[in-house]
Subunit: 365 residues, 2 copies
């Protein structure tokens, strides 16, 4: 079991990573100052509930916590204002007060939704993340929570830090293969933006990671969380540095939006986006091996690296114009200089971006 | 023209109170760092728009600002998630980005709604308050923003500080008499909780205030804002001290909720609530003159001090159980000790509260 601390002054919190943590949840919550006198709400989804809800709930109840639960349909569709309103109703009817915690049991969708509920119910409650996917190692660190608007993803949200992230790697054993790969996409991203040797480690240990070997998972998750925690600690409100975490996300979010949420998993879309970013890096002067290496790492993790031809370049360009990284009409991108090093580049011409999107359909060079 | 500063470290902001400020809005926004490169959204309501929207919009456009607007129906009904979602759609289609401002032109409803939009659009934009009611001198200071849930008022919200409050007292001249009185209710509340001489000033200058005499308004608003700013500066997140601002609000919110939003103006409901608090204070040991003085001040401002008999005591008690000031099942109240001095009392018996509610129907002692 390892513990990392996300260092944010009075909003600092621990990330605990290990095996068998669900059954110890009660004592971990108590250590974070969450009390048994108020009811607490577990939000989870229809995939996760049958596997882990009872285990978490009874672990907490056996320590004296009063628990109410809400199960949302699995999938990005639950990150909607309609489901958000249902969660608010559940919180009110469950009697939650300002000392209550909202506990997210699940992947990124549940974390984002529950986090926004926690951020805004009575203007803010305690928030606990219990991630059950690899992808969530990314979304559970940093305090960005949100729901989607029909016109754009993650448009409605807040910065709301958890008081605890409890990462039981045993829960990852039930992940479908495609979600394993999609989760590893964010893991290798943390290597690509910050730590060359970790990026190489991800590629070299791809087989163990894909086979969900616990030691490899614990190391990879801890390292991935540590990179994210380091970046977030230096820039909580995403003024500048924190934007580097969005490597691949500008194109990736546009792919998700126009393909209809669901055709691509988030990690798959940003894998294609990271290939696009590498291509941009090479155009702006990086060594061409940057692109081939990026592609080989993503392929080792069984991730897509080519954009399907049926997605219209015009639609992707249009979807990008809603992206939060566009300020005052300029196109801004996180661009790699080499494996393990990126920069935030402002004022990239939309013609160059259009070229890159077209090129992504042709596959790697 | 007077300027107050709400002192919240890096979130400090000015409150500017005076005549003719709408037409100078552009230069005030620029001084607060809001730039012309991004579009900005004015949210106002159907009462305020015909009176002041064009004036504010053209003042801003003449300084180079690009403005989009949204007009919501006047009244508490617009503090709903449905209207909130419409505002998000307007913000997206209007092209707002992270450097944009959401500008609230109106009273407390518009301020709360626009503030919550600003707090959560792209995880937070600049927020500017341009209050056009007396009541808004209270809601525009302190950063509490929210919409209502059908089951309880202000249940969904955030703490989000404005970067500027621009209080043009000329806009108050069009207020209906009933709203003038309701606004003065929060003004005298600031005297009752913090400043005995200001409470007496409000009573002694009731005629000038009710007649909207500009000098009296400027003094009263500045003093009321200053009390609130002082309390908020000492306790931004409402841990303890800030709760005193809720004098009269526990009973007041319950009255509003069960009477149906609209029968009572907020300031009217809390006037009755403040009489209830004074009764509670006397029961807990304060001099009986506390109640008679409180009633005489409220009457001087033409506010109601008696609860209509058709409102059920049971319903009021039940509505109070959803109040955010109830932690872990205890009933907590802000209770006056004397004019100008209050304390937060925990664990008051619900029997005593029920007695007080019944007594409020009988009028003052």
């Amino acid at each position: 079991m390892g513990t990392l601390t996300v260092d944010l002054g009075e909003r600092s919190y621990p990330i605990i990573i290990g095996r068998g943590l669900l059954s110890q949840a009660g004592s971990h919550l108590k250590k974070c100052g969450i009390r048994t006198g108020s009811p607490h709400l577990i939000i989870t989804d229809s995939n996760t509930a049958p596997l882990y809800l009872e285990k978490l709930q009874s672990a907490l109840e056996s320590e004296g916590f009063q628990i109410v639960t809400a199960i949302v349909p699995a999938g990005e569709q639950s990150k909607s204002l309609a489901v958000y309103e249902e969660m608010m109703t559940r919180a009110i009817t469950g009697g939650l007060d300002r000392k209550s915690a909202v506990i997210a049991l699940g992947g990124g969708v549940v974390g984002d939704l529950a986090g926004f509920v926690s951020a805004t119910y009575m203007r803010g409650t305690y928030f606990v993340q219990v991630p059950t996917t690899i992808l969530a190692h990314d979304s559970s660190v940093g305090g960005k929570v949100a729901v989607n608007h029909p016109l754009a993803k993650n448009m409605i949200g807040a910065f709301h830090q958890p008081v605890l992230v409890l990462y039981d790697v045993d829960t990852l054993q039930t992940l479908p293969d495609r979600e394993v790969s999609a989760g590893l996409s964010e893991m290798v991203k943390h290597g690509l933006i910050w730590d060359e040797s970790f990026a190489h480690w991800c590629r070299d240990h791809a087989a163990e990671l894909l086979a969900l070997q616990p030691e490899a998972l614990e190391y990879g998750l801890e390292k991935g969380c540590a990179v994210k925690a380091e970046v977030v600690s230096r820039d909580e409100r995403e003024n500048d540095l924190r934007a580097i975490l969005n490597l691949g996300h500008t194109i990736g979010h546009a792919i998700e939006a126009i393909a209809g949420y669901g055709e691509f998993l988030h990690g798959e879309a940003i894998a294609i986006g990271m290939v696009g970013s590498a291509k941009l890096g090479v155009r702006l002067g990086a060594d061409p091996s940057l692109e081939t290496e990026t592609v080989s790492m993503l392929k080792a993790l069984r991730l897509p690296t080519v954009l399907p031809g049926h997605l219209s370049t015009d639609d992707i360009m249009s979807a990008m114009s809603h992206d939060k990284k566009f300020t005052e009409g300029q196109m801004n991108f996180v661009v790699p200089k080499a494996i393990g090093s990126v920069e935030f580049v402002r004022g990239i011409s939309s013609d160059m971006v259009r070229d890159i999107v077209d090129e992504l359909k042709k596959g790697e060079a």
